[in-house]
Amino acid sequence: MIIHRKDHRVLVQGLTGKQGSFWAEKMIACGTSVVGGVNPKRAGEQHLGVPVFVSAVEAMKAAPFDTAVMFIPPSMAKDAALDAIKAGAKSLVILTEHVPARDVMAIHAAAAAGNTRIIGPNTAGLVTPGEGFIGIMPGHNPNVFKPGNIGVISRSGSLGTLVSLNLTRAGMGQSAFVGIGGDPMIGTTTRDALQALDQDERTVGIVLVGEIGGSMEERAAEYARGMKKPVVSFIAGRSSPPGKKMGHAGAIVTGSAGSYAVKRAQLEAAGVTVVDTPKDIPLALGALLKMTLH
């Protein structure tokens, strides 16, 4: 469930809120199969043409779903996530930023026990051009996303948007965009996303948009070593001062761990082409695809 599909049935937790409504409407217009929403205070109502339930557990009985997406504030994120996991969601997209770390650990523990895949927290979501999207990405904007065969992985929503847009402008549509989230403790890692796109038949090339901090790019590099599909990477934060959190909680360099230099070296050693600026991504990918196709 790392790659969104048209037939994935989606439950929107926080559907009736301002952001939930705004984005669910766009998701539906884009082809996403939204089957219901959750708001305990408005259970029984219809909103955006779908029923509102008191909980995800109740929703599962009347309107079975595969994926839940949370438009829920940080203090209530844990309860909402545990509800979706208890309901038996196959995957759960947590958009919320600043979820308390102890709650994040509890969510991951419950998800592991209940077999729910967590995407995020602090992700911008998943987009599959031509099929739909989940989250807060401009999946409905044809200038940004168009169907194709390039997979994009990004910790950041804004940078992932720019990279997808540059690909689209270069005539390279996307098979899937996977936003994994800017937090240090996310459920689906860069490596998981890389593996999913590697195994996806439609995807012929992959763009890995990383950031300084943590060791996810290094772990993804281990996987990339055995891959046949070309991978191009851009790592943000090369010019960031050490020891400072650069907006994303995960984007902090302490000592040599998580540094730009280490990530770049390990990705390059694994055969990944690392570029200096986002504009170079389509160029590098084009050159590599030409080589692999001939």
Partner: protein, 380 residues
């Protein structure tokens, strides 16, 4: 959020039942000689949130009231790792038999709490890890089952702790409980000392509060150590914006952490120098007006790059804020826009009609134009 030693001891360790030495907080040499009478021979310790106190001369021994006053005066004159020392802790000295290391922290990859213990205390644990990794015991804790007495005991067994083993084991259990109840990212006791009289006490404590939990730890959050910030960075923080002042001359205003870091990287890659990090992503995208004011208040700024790529953040809302602020502040520096994503048509139209500027197609072009502008200004 970081905490100084005495706050960590008083608010995290003591409520959890972890023994600490008798200590008194002190702000002047005169106070020190008076408090000496209550604590006796002591260690005078700078209260700053950094691990480099000892090497910087921030920890000294005093055996008389006069010495306590003298040492206090010396330490209060120090600036350690950028922190002015404003307080010292006078802590009762005791004869130490052995020094251990104990910590509970978040293992971000395992997504679980991690308990660490080593019999090599009193030194940098990363050095122990590099030199003698076998000397560090680790245990990932299952949140559901917690750290029970048996597993805490197992963690410290076979290390030759003798009569202290039960005490140390209980301290680990208490540390784990405090880790949860205080929403810690890290609780580290280094050294955890076995005294010659057989007691085990925490001689130091490093505590980091998970920033995202501050809202439900109001008492702790009130006592966090203030970060070192420039006046502009403080203004940003007060407005709820993460602003980091750098020494370059190209101001950066972008949305989202990833895009903002990238804009800085592209400036550096093209031979320019970014003047700041400032993102107005997430819910902060409505704060473009105050954000622009901050960027332009940085005296080194000679040109500005505004790079918006709307996903969640609407570029039309951000552009409106920038245009408003621009018209109010009437800055003399040149500005270069690149705008894409959610709301781009309206945003570009606004920049054209209100500021008479044409947004550039790629961010790389906006950056190149800004760098060229700073160079031509220098030569003019």
């Amino acid at each position: 959020m970081n905490f100084v030693e005495h706050v960590a001891k008083a608010m995290v360790l003591e409520p959890a039942g972890i023994p600490v030495p008798v200590g008194r907080l002190c702000r002047s040499p005169a106070e020190a000689s008076e408090l000496f009478l209550q604590v006796g021979p002591c260690v005078v310790k700078a209260q700053v949130p950094t691990g480099k106190r000892g090497k910087a001369g921030g920890i000294k021994i005093a055996s008389t009231p006069e010495e306590a006053a003298q040492r206090t005066q010396e330490i209060l004159a120090l600036t350690i790792d950028g922190h002015h020392v404003k307080e010292v802790l006078l802590e009762q000295r005791a004869a130490i038999a052995r020094e251990f290391y104990a910590a509970v922290m978040i293992d971000f990859n395992a997504r679980k709490p991690l308990v660490l213990f080593s019999t090599e205390g009193g030194m940098d644990i990363e050095q122990v890890a590099a030199r003698n990794p076998a000397n560090i015991r680790r245990r990932l804790v299952d949140l559901e089952s917690g750290l029970d007495a048996a597993s805490a005991g197992h963690l410290v067994s076979g290390l030759g702790l003798g009569a202290a083993e039960a005490q140390v084991s209980r301290i680990l259990e208490h540390m784990y409980a405090a880790f949860l109840s205080c929403d810690a990212e890290l609780i580290e006791i280094n050294p955890l000392a076995l005294l010659e009289d057989g007691r085990v006490v925490a001689l130091d404590c490093k505590f980091t509060l998970d920033d995202s939990s501050a809202f439900r730890q109001p008492e702790l959050a009130k006592h966090g150590a203030s970060e070192i910030m420039t006046p502009l960075e403080r203004r940003g923080a007060e407005a709820g914006l993460k602003f980091i002042q750098l020494d370059g001359d190209i101001g950066v205003l972008a949305n989202g952490a990833g895009l903002t870091m990238t804009t800085m990287d592209v400036i550096s890659h093209q031979g320019g120098r970014p003047a700041n990090f400032l993102e107005i992503g997430g819910e902060a995208y409505t704060k473009a007006e105050i954000a622009l004011d901050l960027v332009l208040s940085n005296p080194g700024v000679k040109a500005l790059v505004v790079n918006f790529c709307g996903a969640f953040a609407r570029t039309d809302v951000m552009a409106e804020g920038v245009v408003k602020a621009w018209q109010k502040l009437k800055p003399s520096v040149p500005v270069f826009f690149s705008i894409h994503g959610t709301g781009e048509e309206e945003a570009r139209a606004m920049v054209r009609s209100q500021l008479g500027l044409e947004p550039l197609d790629f961010m790389e072009e906006a950056v190149a134009a800004a760098i060229a502008a700073t160079k031509s200004k220098v030569s003019a």
